[in-house]
């Protein structure tokens, strides 16, 4: 991974905060967006990035977060639809080269892959890992 990327992370829940802390520690410039002030408490004390309080579903908030300067955007809110809209807006409107979206509902993955959005589906990932573990256990 290139050093010193400018990354916007939408959603400061457990996943968003975790990514923000790790990526910030790795030396990248980070902006975290969340509409709840309390969410920023999830950030570690040595988090060196910015915080923007606002609803990422509003284009103006994405502009405020300087998404137009981002090398990468990661959408990690709890709402699949917000993640997908933000990811697509980032690409289509702001030209962000790479966007990632967390999507909980496996049945949405297909459509969005076809629309050019890179998704990570925790449900599918967990299912695969569980199955793998179960099969291994059965074999041994």
């Amino acid at each position: 991974m290139a050093s010193n990327l400018f990354i916007v992370i939408v959603g400061c829940g457990r996943l968003g905060a975790y990514l923000a802390n790790r990526l910030s520690r790795a030396g990248h410039g980070i902006v975290v967006v969340d509409y709840r002030m309390e969410a920023f408490d999830n950030l570690s004390s040595d988090y060196s990035g910015f915080r923007v309080e606002g609803d990422a579903a509003e284009l103006a908030v994405l502009k405020q977060a300087k998404v137009d300067k981002a090398d990468l955007l990661i959408a990690t809110t709890r709402d699949d639809n917000i993640n997908l809209m933000v990811a697509q807006a980032a690409k289509a409107e702001f030209g962000v080269p790479r966007v990632l979206a967390r999507v909980f509902e496996p049945r949405r993955e297909d459509v969005y892959r076809r629309l050019g959005v890179e998704t990570v589906c925790p449900t599918s990932v967990a299912a695969e890992l569980f199955l793998k573990s179960v099969c291994q256990e059965n074999e041994s």
């Binding site: 284009l59 699949d80 639809n81 997908l84 809209m85 807006a89 289509a92 049945r107 459509v111």
Partner: protein
């Protein structure tokens, strides 16, 4: 037409009623159980309680058979998801999303989803300072690049008595239809305008104000 509508609230009730009155089949997906019961009671449509952006729910209502999908929830992200699923996954020929944040209108269009912003439309209605009595049905169509307006000519309108050829209308505007005493005329250069005529105007957002002023003579 088979119309699938996702959303709730009073406006949606009237939207459903409008489509039903025109003879279309309407299916409604709504999240609120009470509202679902109300809608089912008052209107002759199929109501499903659920999340319209959930592929499972869409399949349950038979979205593949829909001719058009309207996503009119208060959340732009849900409306986008409904329309994208409907067209990309299920091949529905027409999908229209309501956008609450007017900034999202152009984004949705870039993503290939027809979008409509009430905030922008109402604001432009006010800003154009049009007299709402004489001028109705301001609809932005053609992806917001074209306005279609209906204007009734008062006797005092400067264009009364003139032929279309004589009018000095701004460029890129068109009087598409003249409605006169129940008849619709497609006007030509020699068509003369009378008081009481209803004109259907096609304008671009940029020249809309000037065209209306030229026709109605109003300067507010």
């Amino acid at each position: 037409m088979n119309v699938l509508i996702v959303g709730g609230g009073k406006a949606v009730y009237f939207l459903c009623r409008t489509f039903l009155a025109k003879g279309h089949q309407v299916t409604l997906i709504n999240r609120d159980p009470d509202e679902c019961v109300q809608m089912a009671r008052r209107l002759k449509l199929t109501v499903i309680r659920g999340d319209g952006s959930d592929p499972a729910i869409l399949e349950e209502v038979g979205v593949q058979a829909a001719d058009a999908v309207l996503a009119v929830t208060p959340n732009d992200q849900d409306n986008l998801a409904v329309c994208q699923l409907a067209t990309t996954q299920y091949g529905v020929p027409r999908a229209l999303a309501l956008v609450n944040d007017p900034d999202n209108e152009k984004v949705f269009r870039k993503l290939g989803v027809a979008a409509f912003s009430t905030a922008r439309t109402i604001a432009s209605l006010i800003e154009q300072r049009t007299d709402l009595d004489e001028i109705t049905n301001l609809i932005p169509v053609g992806e917001g690049k074209v306005n279609i307006t209906e204007v009734r000519l008062q006797p005092t309108a400067p264009v009364v008595g003139k032929t279309l050829r004589d009018l000095a209308l701004p460029a890129d505007s068109l009087i598409a239809v003249v409605l006169r005493q129940g008849e619709a005329l497609v006007p030509r250069g020699d068509t003369q305008l009378h008081a009481g005529d209803q004109l259907v105007l096609i304008t671009l957002p940029g020249n809309h104000g000037p065209v209306l002023r030229a026709i109605t003579g109003e300067n507010r």
